[in-house]
């Protein structure tokens, strides 16, 4: 890890001004929110932007608003700590609060933002390393080389999305608010992310994430986020499992959405989950059907400190545990 490289630091006062700076700077510019992901990556020379555009000076991006009709609206500069501690979020979207609380350390959650977390750069064993090693081994696709080191035949980068909050937000059916030269647009999380560790998002270079909108939870909604990692602090997920399910008064599942983190370049939604769970009382047979669907859908590669076979096996274990927790809470 080196010192930060030289760059020019811009601190616009409005979103429009930020967009204008980005439009003028082209691909050499980078947006920074809390800086907990961007700055270490710059110190490792993974990123060398000429211009860094900070969102800190733009008023209004730090707001948390909730009402029963609109649901939850988060400004992109809301910190992960604020989300973890917010009473309405803890009550209505507990999985979101626990995902935010599971990120890194207290210090970094105080700096890190929800906007930064949904735009967390993808990570890989072969990318998030010092320059010397990447150079000695030969650069991978994401470092500017011509081969993906975890999937040699893959035409695209397979670095994984390690955001803790993104799978939860997607499971809650949230949208990302993007501001660009033509104003604001909303894009659902499943449409925001792309299955490419370099491309990452459906977002133009002159667009910034200004907020997140989460619909109000339907009656009977339960949610859980489970995170596999080496330690209970500091670490990125080796696997994240977000589950949002609706249970009726008799404990019958009326809807269920599960999204996995840290297995693919984007949050991975288990499309076969609803089929396995809806209509059941989350009994053992249903849980096994769901676990099997998750096991089949997740295809981890050599992106993390844990082995592929271990992460593959944990897919089913964590899916079972997530569903069992929802069932127990009902």
């Amino acid at each position: 890890m080196m010192r930060l490289p030289r760059f020019s630091y811009r601190r616009p006062q409005t979103a429009a001004e930020a967009v204008a700076i980005l439009a003028a700077s082209g691909p050499d510019a980078l947006v920074v929110a809390g800086g907990t992901d961007v700055y270490p990556n710059m110190k490792q020379r993974l990123l060398r932007p000429k211009v860094v555009v900070a969102l800190r000076g733009i008023p209004g991006l730090g707001q948390i608003e909730y009402d029963d009709r609109q649901g939850l609206r988060l400004g992109s500069m809301v910190t992960l700590r604020e989300i973890a501690e917010h009473q309405d979020i803890r009550r209505l979207y507990p999985a979101l609060a626990s995902a935010a609380e599971s990120v890194s350390t207290p210090q970094l959650r105080t700096m890190g933002t929800i906007g930064g977390n949904v735009c967390l750069d993808t990570r890989c064993n072969y990318y998030n390393q010092d320059l010397d090693w990447r150079e000695a081994l030969g650069f991978c696709l994401k470092s500017g080389g011509d081969i993906c080191r975890v999937a040699r035949s893959s035409p695209t980068c397979r670095a994984i999305n390690c955001s803790d909050t993104a799978p939860v937000l997607q499971a809650f059916g949230a949208s990302i608010v993007v501001t660009g030269p033509h104003g604001e647009r909303r894009v659902r999380l499943e449409d925001f992310y792309v299955d490419d560790g370099i491309q990452r998002w459906n977002k133009a270079a002159d667009e910034i994430v200004t907020g997140i909108a989460v619909p109000p939870p339907a009656p009977g909604t339960r949610s859980v986020y489970l995170k596999l990692r080496s330690r209970s602090s500091v670490d990125f997920p080796l696997l994240g499992v977000a589950l949002v399910a609706e249970l009726d008064g008799r404990g019958v599942c009326r809807g269920a959405k599960m999204v996995l983190g840290a297995v693919a370049p984007r949050p991975l939604e288990i499309t076969a989950l609803a089929e396995a769970l809806v209509g059941s009382r989350l009994d053992k047979a249903a849980i096994e059907r769901a676990a099997r669907a998750v096991f089949l859908a997740g295809k981890p590669l050599d992106n993390t400190i844990a082995t592929i076979s271990y992460r593959k096996r944990m897919l089913a274990v964590y899916a079972r545990r997530a569903i069992a927790q929802i069932a127990a809470a009902a």
Partner: protein, 776 residues
């Protein structure tokens, strides 16, 4: 022993507040006017010859003041280890400050000094190095095979050191065994993770005299090694003692690249030069050696050892350095001497590879040995249905036995039996279930491990310095200054030594202050290492304080008109033994001793009451006469998640015959810190290197998995068995290293008890547990 008033009290470390607020005493905070910032250019290749280095562009960069390449550096081969003399025949001299051959990825090849750190980093990118890349080898097994790349000319098959020790006839012993067990255990490379990085500032004057500030465990070792590597007389190098350092754990026990490079950059530029290593650089600077231990053990049906054999292959990395000493310490203290056995043999070798250099690390070969020995004993007990506590007691040395190794060592106080019995009772060992018998997904198990024999310093070992000296000076305000070279590396040495001085002088602990010191002003002291400071430096400090007290009483006797032998010091006051009739504060005695002989009065000059003038002080410089062994057992309860393989230590109890406890707060801190390091070693820490390039893949605390506060068990109890060692200061002996030696085997044994399967390779990761359970 008479009643003690300071020793044994829960005294707060005198520098505690200063340290937790990032105090000026840390060498990382040293800044000098005009200081330059140095940076090392490191090789990306694990094995290469440098064909050409072009520094022209870097030298032209504004702000760059000096550039160093191998050709401008003295080519004197040295060994870097502080505690062994430069020319000791047991050491391997294979280090150069900068060499034209690199043998591990990250070995420095050039250096710059510039006015700003950013400029120094930019200058590194402008240095053009042409490498002739050579084949490299990263596995010690492969390195020993014929045809493997040869790393050093002096070491055929890459074997740096080959050693063997034994007693009796081991083959005969195996013939007498009812059972013979053979198992192999492997440990990994781990880092000490000191908080303060390796950092130094070196200044030079026009005579070429050097002054060094460094985060080091040994100022005299640094002086000696640095002078040798630079080809300078030792008097040209002065090392300033740090007030305290931010951890060391053995990781700051050798000459790094930074001090000689800073010295040369300073001599070249005429300015002070500072290098602070990044965490990545620290991770590739020092590590505990990975050791593969093959054990062959013969026992009778009742569990009595008949023969023990071990073969250890220690990976020393690109240079031998500590490997030459860790190897025999591992063989002797980690295996050979642990238990009684008539026929025992150990063979070991230290093997070069193109990995980073191994270094010192708390336990110094002991943790690797204990993991093997204590794991296998439990395996034997399981197989033969023997009680593991009774088994160890049956084979243990006994108090007052002759030490098996050396007459300098002693078992005059030795209470392993008490550690085991009292520990087992307090931990409720009798409630232990049979292995793997729990039901449910999460299973609990308890286990324990011993370090039966250890050291209180290095007396009795060949080729290792072991003496200490101190100066205790009394001040006119009744305080005492303790001048000593011992570096407090975070274990509370400053507090312990102050308490010993205070007890001996008869003052309160806060009346003793640790003086500023450097290699010119204080007597030699061996390093802060080998669990030696409380015992060895403590003895020296006690003698110096005793000699100051003797002088104090001689002077005071003139005020009492009594013999010094009839006086005593209590609570900072001198009095006739047992009498409170007349008490004179120390301050007054010191002041009168130092006051001018004559004072001008109305009736002419008058003599002050004390004729014998001078500063009241005491000095010492001595080696301890013996090396008493502490004894240790640790009990641990764990919970294993049999679906995920995760292990959570729930509680631990550490029972240690420490002699008398000088500083209970410091001692408990050592136990808890040792458990944290030992638990990391057992379960998660692993300094991983890429098998293709030899580059470090765990160069920060995100990828290097050291346990956090959350992973720590809810309860760690310290049970100190105070055996009162007669040769120790106020009865003390050693504590530091065993705290980290025993957790890994204790945890491994507890895991076995929980799930009924054995993992013989550290760290015991969730993957290995699931694989052992047949689930992966």
């Amino acid at each position: 022993m008479s009643e003690l008033s300071v020793v044994g009290q829960r005294v707060r470390s005198p520098d505690a507040y200063d340290k937790v607020t990032g105090g000026k005493g840390f060498p990382v905070n040293v800044r000098l006017p005009g200081m330059l910032h140095g940076k090392l250019l490191r090789s990306p290749y694990a094995h290469a010859r440098i064909v050409r280095i072009d520094t022209a562009k870097a030298e032209k960069l504004p702000g760059v003041k000096a550039v160093l390449t191998p050709s401008a550096v003295p080519q004197i081969k040295y060994h870097s280890v502080f505690f062994a003399p430069n020319l000791d025949p047991g050491m391997v001299r294979d280090m150069l400050i900068l060499s034209d051959t690199v043998r591990f990825a990250g070995e420095p090849v050039a250096a710059v000094a510039a006015t700003e750190l950013e400029i120094a980093e930019e200058a590194l990118e402008l240095i053009d190095v042409e490498y002739d890349v050579l084949p490299a080898v990263f596995d010690p097994g492969e390195a020993m095979r014929p045809g493997a790349p040869q790393i050093w000319e002096h070491a055929p098959n890459n074997v740096a050191v080959n050693l063997s020790f034994g007693f009796g006839d081991v083959e005969q012993g195996f013939k007498q065994a009812d059972y013979v067990f053979e198992n192999t255990y492997q440990t990994q490379r781990v880092h000490t993770c000191y908080m303060e990085p390796r950092v130094c500032v070196v200044d030079s004057d026009r005579q070429g005299d050097l002054t060094v500030w460094s985060s080091t465990q040994h100022i005299f070792g640094l002086q000696e090694k640095l002078a040798f590597a630079l080809g300078l007389p030792i008097s040209k190098v002065r090392v300033v003692k740090p007030r305290y350092i931010g951890g060391g754990f053995g990781g700051k026990l050798d000459l790094g690249y930074i001090e000689p490079v800073c010295a040369l950059l300073s001599l070249k530029s005429g300015r002070p030069v500072r290098i602070e290593q990044t965490r990545y650089e620290d991770f590739i600077t020092t590590a505990r050696h990975p050791v593969k231990v093959q054990l062959r053990t013969g026992v009778k049906k009742d569990g009595t050892f008949t023969a023990r054999y071990a073969k250890s292959i220690l990976e020393t990395g690109a240079h031998a350095t500590h490997g030459a000493v860790v190897l025999p310490v591992h063989g002797l203290m980690g295996f050979l001497l642990t238990y009684r056995c008539p026929d025992v043999k150990w063979e070991g070798c230290a093997v070069y590879t193109n990995n980073m250099i191994g270094g010192g690390f708390r336990g110094y070969g002991g943790p690797q040995g204990a993991f093997a020995v204590e794991s296998q004993i439990d395996e034997i007990c399981e197989e033969l249905k023997l009680d593991p506590i009774a088994f160890r007691l049956k084979n243990a040395h006994r108090e007052a036995d002759p030490h098996p190794f050396n007459p300098n060592f002693t078992l005059s106080t030795y209470r392993l039996d008490e550690c085991l019995k009292r520990g087992a009772q307090e931990f409720e060992w009798s409630k232990r279930q049979s292995a793997g018998s729990g039901s449910g997904t999460k299973k609990r198990g308890i286990g324990f491990a011993c370090q039966p024999l250890w050291v209180s310093g290095c007396v009795g070992f060949p080729g290792i310095y072991e003496h200490s000296g101190a100066i205790v000076k009394l001040n006119v305000d009744g305080t005492a200054d303790l001048s000593i070279a011992t570096v407090d590396m975070g274990c509370g040495q400053n507090a312990v030594l102050s308490q010993i001085v205070a007890e001996e002088l008869g003052v309160s602990a806060d009346a003793v202050r640790i003086a500023y010191a450097d290699t010119q002003t204080v007597p030699f002291d061996a390093p802060t290492h080998a669990s030696r400071v409380t015992y060895s430096a403590g003895n020296a400090v006690k003698v110096a304080a005793g000699s100051a007290r003797k002088r104090l009483l001689e002077v005071a006797s003139q005020l009492f008109g009594a013999s010094p032998d009839d006086l005593e010091v209590v609570n900072g006051r001198v009095r006739l033994k047992g009498s409170r009739a007349k008490e004179i504060p120390i301050a007054e005695v010191v002041e009168l001793a130092g006051a001018p002989a004559l004072t001008l009065g109305l009736e002419g000059n008058q003599r002050t009451p004390i004729a014998d003038k001078g500063t009241i002080l005491g000095t010492s410089s001595l080696a301890p006469a013996s090396n008493p062994s502490p004894a240790t057992a640790e009990f641990v309860e764990v919970e294993v998640d049999t679906e995920t393989g995760e292990v959570r230590p729930l509680r631990a109890l550490f029972a240690h015959d420490i002699g008398r406890v000088i500083s209970p707060l410091g001692a408990e801190g050592q136990v808890e810190g040792g458990f944290q390091q030992g638990m990391g070693f057992a379960l998660m820490e692993n300094l991983v290197f890429d098998s293709e390039t030899g580059s470090c893949l765990a160069g920060d605390f995100l990828n290097y998995k050291i346990p956090t506060a959350i992973e720590m068990p809810g309860e760690i109890k310290s049970l100190f068995i105070e055996s009162n060692e007669p040769s120790g200061p106020f009865g003390a002996k050693a504590l530091a290293e065993p705290c980290l030696i025993v957790p890994a085997p204790a945890i491994a044994n507890a895991i076995y008890n929980a799930i009924g399967v054995r993992v013989r390779e550290l760290p015991i990761t969730p993957e290995k547990i699931l694989a052992a359970l047949g689930k992966l």
